[in-house]
Subunit: 350 residues, 2 copies
Amino acid sequence: MDAPAVYRIALDVMGGDHAPTATLEGARLALAAHPDLFLHLVGDEARLRPLMGPMGFKGELLTRCALVHAATVVDMDDKATSILKEKKNSSIRVAAQLVREGKADGVVSMGHTGAAMVASKMVVGTLDGVDRPCLATILPNMHGRPTVLLDVGANIDCRPEHIAQFAVMGSIYAEHVLGIERPRVGVLSVGEEEGKGSATTKEAAQFLKELDVNFTGNAEGRDLWNDKFDVIACDGFVGNALLKSAESLAEGLIEGLKSVFMESFFTKIAALMAKPALKRFAKKLDYEEYGGAPLLGVKGISIIGHGRSNARAVQSAIRAALVACEHRVNDHIQESLGRVMSQAESQDPS
Amino acid sequence: MDAPAVYRIALDVMGGDHAPTATLEGARLALAAHPDLFLHLVGDEARLRPLMGPMGFKGELLTRCALVHAATVVDMDDKATSILKEKKNSSIRVAAQLVREGKADGVVSMGHTGAAMVASKMVVGTLDGVDRPCLATILPNMHGRPTVLLDVGANIDCRPEHIAQFAVMGSIYAEHVLGIERPRVGVLSVGEEEGKGSATTKEAAQFLKELDVNFTGNAEGRDLWNDKFDVIACDGFVGNALLKSAESLAEGLIEGLKSVFMESFFTKIAALMAKPALKRFAKKLDYEEYGGAPLLGVKGISIIGHGRSNARAVQSAIRAALVACEHRVNDHIQESLGRVMSQAESQDPS
């Protein structure tokens, strides 16, 4: 007897630098690993169907996926809002539509980040009580544990209450998806002392003190890496700059080291000798493990992966969506923000 | 015949985690390396004088330095503004006073960053036409070349014209101190396309297009490391977060790798074999080489070093002050901002 397919994820098969090969392969790996997964594979049917057999979509797997046709794809130089106009039939828009119509519980895309955000916000829609959905990224810190940084680019200009909401949503994600008990929540600032920061961050900290999260105070840039916080909230401008800088710096250092070890016969031997230890170290810091950035605060799960994702990263992104469904992240956000709102109302003298 | 002492720098000998040993040793190294340097060594005379002989302050060196007494030092938990009240006789305040009185051309401190900034701004004073002095940091990028990031913490909330001024001052520093011809100047944003960014960064970009700098467009977080820009301007909140995150990430990766190579007999041998190559790589990324962050826009040179500076970093910070004096950085800033102001006036219809 087949295991019943419980969670239905719509995958934008056409999005990403290595689509559709990496996305299809990631889909297959995810289906094989998770018997409770059903996948809507959204993309150009004529192009995808012939690939599936040779790529191993066979037998029981086929009963847990369905091809859904979408005629176009959002290109990197398209505007994010193109999905609302000339690219209504794009794979990300069609995938989002499945969630809107209740045919899927979540959407996963490695394509145009802006388009995926617009599709999630405008087509899927925002949870009640959420002012602004926000993009979270999960950074592996130096102790091999995850730190949630949010927002990393969905909202450029933020008010204090937005940052406080990001923190609440990040805390729920850390608790229910990453399994961190009472996540330590911080607001990004320029110093750990309470008085440090901008007018916005100081007010966000005040909000958080009143709320039902484990608010631990101001975080600094360094705290992304030292395991002092589980969740760090900031506006999307700062978060985006931090994420892009960190990705580039870490890659640059690792590339630089690789080329060091290719310099000579001796260094090549050295690399060979240290390889298993280096691999263990790299695994600790492996971003592919966390698979994509959840866009929190939309009705339905939305995971936005890196354009460069390989099959394993696609699989992780699908798993992240599945876990978010299983742990009812949205119900918890809804419940928590409902509580926040009633707290705010009971404090409001009017 | 002694070389004439041309540039006079006031060193806050008491500031920094390893003061006064590291600062005195750095001073001695700088005096030995630069015959055109005169140093005011500012600190507790009774404590410093006995150290100097044993530390090698002898002969000709002694003719190019002078002890200047300061009774106290700003502690890490003092407020930055303490130098204006209860800590008027602190070493950083006394050092700044020497610049104010024309007895020194610049001040160098590894102590309390906030106090050094307040001393520079309030005691030394701001250059005409500069709205806000800003703190610049010089990051070694992955190609071993420097990128100037500013502001990294002097100004939390900034208007577009401030960011544009930071960019102009950074460009002058890059050209005259770092020797970069026509530095490529960017405004930090969330995407390289012109329309991307906050209202503030978009307006700052508009200002810069009109000005006499080589404005190259929007920079992203990743551009701190890829040698696409020589100067990247942003507000002090973002810059501070970026700097602290990068320092911590790079250190964490390097520490992590070190411990990998200590894991076993094999990895220890491997480390030994790769050591010379690793050293060359580390040298490329060596922040001590650039020695401290210049506070740009004050009357007189001000260099703020890292609290953890060792003697070599102190020496580099003193050298940075010397080079800034030699290349008349402030004259260039004054001239350039004078031009900016007359441009602005000629465009102003009123």
